[in-house]
Amino acid sequence: MIELAGLTKRYGERTAVDGLTFSVRPGRVTGFLGPNGAGKSTTMRMILGLDHPTGGSVRIDGMPYERLPEPLTAIGALLEARAVHPGRTAHDHLLCLAQSNGIPLRRIDEVLELVGLTAVARKRPKSFSLGMGQRLGIASAMLGDPRILMFDEPVNGLDPEGIHWVRQLMKQLAADGRTVFVSSHLMSEMALTADHLVVIGRGRLLADTSMARFIEENAHTFVRVCTPEPERMRDVLAAAGLPVREGEDCLEVPGSQAPRIGELAAEHGLVLHELTLRRASLEEAFMRLTRGAVEYQAHAAEHGPQAQGG
């Protein structure tokens, strides 16, 4: 389990991570979602003790990272694909890591096999593609057979087959009862893998909820109704007891009653230019959520200096 308490990181005036408090629990994939620059990578680096927090703390299974006796056997992380020396073979890279944490050396071949790099184990990573680098990074994370895994944008640079493989791997790791914490800036990616969702924007926590609940709350369906006589249409729909709202250029009726609306229009001799069933994508829901954070900040700024920290 990873526990963050009031985790804050400031670079001079700019607050990159702002009082984050949440826990990442075992047995499920927790998606860490936020637009680029929201503070995801900074948070992950602080979890590993690489960046020093300005405030707050992180605990890995109840302990600060620095105090873990063999950290790679407790938590494995993929931060960036290229965190290898270009002139050190994949095998030797893993060997250095294994030796430093007293990890049995047979694990090297096991993880190379797992990520499909056995054939290039003795090759130097400077010739590796981005995807192969990513696989080597995942192998490094898995080396100590840790109970907690953390991946920063793991599908970056992977081909479709690789992406599928990473998704399956994460689900499998969670099914084993491990803690899996994975960041992405793509809601669609998270929708396919995550069971739980932590959303941040501008370093602040925006949501900490199960994926199912997030979908339920945000994936509304509605019918888009376009007509040259919106006023009359609105009355007709209202009379039929259907809630109507103003869309961007047409009317929107929550729900999926497209046939009913079509029939009503025919009954009243209304011309329809468009009648479509739409589903608000999770991507839009996510954008709405994060846009809110931006607005909140702009709003706060109007009332004098913004309160820092939290």
Binding site: D51, H52, Y65, P69, L72, A83, V84, S100, N101
Partner: protein
């Protein structure tokens, strides 16, 4: 438990250093350049010895002459020091390394220990090879290990090589980027330091620069009026090294990786 951890990290750092070609090549270059250039200059001196001024002949130092290749060979040692440390920073590997060994002081100490041991071993071998090779070229003007001060100078030459590599490591830990480290250290030790030590205006200060002071340990005949002896000179160099390492350590502790 703690000795186990230290032992593991040392072994890991040994693997790191020996599993890349650049470290092997730079160390090999340090040997070849120092020895070959020393022999060449020794040979040239022997052939032109009679043309030297009386003063130069009186203060002729066959030991120091055989170390004439050090000025160039040390650049390979400096490159070794830079590469050992900057290899962590050029690619973000330092994050993987610190994830594995979160105690930063331990990681740094292990890397310095392994790299310095290697530099000292190679440096001492280089020193002896340069001495014997140089003396062989000097013919009648040669000296032997048995002469006073000579053995000290030869061992000192090895220590000098180890210290210059260690200084480069400390400085690189502050500068982090390989480009920046090469850009600062190479011109400094190749040009700037010897200019400062030879231009009358800066001569007095220049003698206290790490390489200028440290190289004193390799001379047997006192040719100028330096205010420090061979060990004093090496001591001054050691102070520079300690300062560089301390700076590197404090920044490593303080900075985000």
């Amino acid at each position: 438990m703690d000795t186990t951890t230290a032992g593991r990290v040392l072994r890991s750092e040994w693997t790191k250093i020996t599993s890349v070609r650049s470290t092997v090549w730079t160390l090999a270059a340090a040997v070849v350049v120092t020895v070959a250039l020393g022999m060449l200059i020794s040979l040239l001196i022997r052939n032109t010895f009679d043309e030297l001024s009386t003063a130069d002949r009186i203060t002729f130092d066959p030991t120091l002459t055989s170390f004439a290749g050090t000025s160039l060979g040390q650049l390979a040692m400096i490159a070794f020091g830079i590469l050992v440390v900057s290899g962590e920073y050029s690619t973000g590997l330092i994050r993987a390394s610190l994830s594995a060994v979160p105690r930063r002081g331990l990681l740094m100490a292990a890397k310095l220990t392994v790299a310095t041991a290697l530099a000292l071993a190679v440096g001492t071998a280089t020193s002896f090879l340069a001495f014997f090779g140089g003396q062989a070229m000097l013919g009648d003007h040669r000296t032997t290990l048995g002469e006073p001060g000579v053995l000290r100078a030869v061992f000192g030459g090895g220590l000098y090589m180890g210290l210059i590599a260690l200084f480069a490591m400390g400085a690189t830990w502050m500068l982090r980027s390989p480009m920046l480290s090469f850009g600062v250290l190479m011109p400094f030790f190749f040009l700037v330091s010897s200019i400062l030590a030879n231009v009358p205006a800066t001569e007095k200060l220049g003698r206290y620069l790490p390489d200028q002071a440290g190289q004193r340990v390799m001379s047997v005949v006192e040719a100028d009026d330096r205010p420090y002896g061979p060990w004093g000179g090496l001591g001054i160099m050691a102070l520079w090294v300690i300062a560089a390492l301390l700076g590197g350590y404090l920044l490593l502790k303080k900075r985000d990786a």
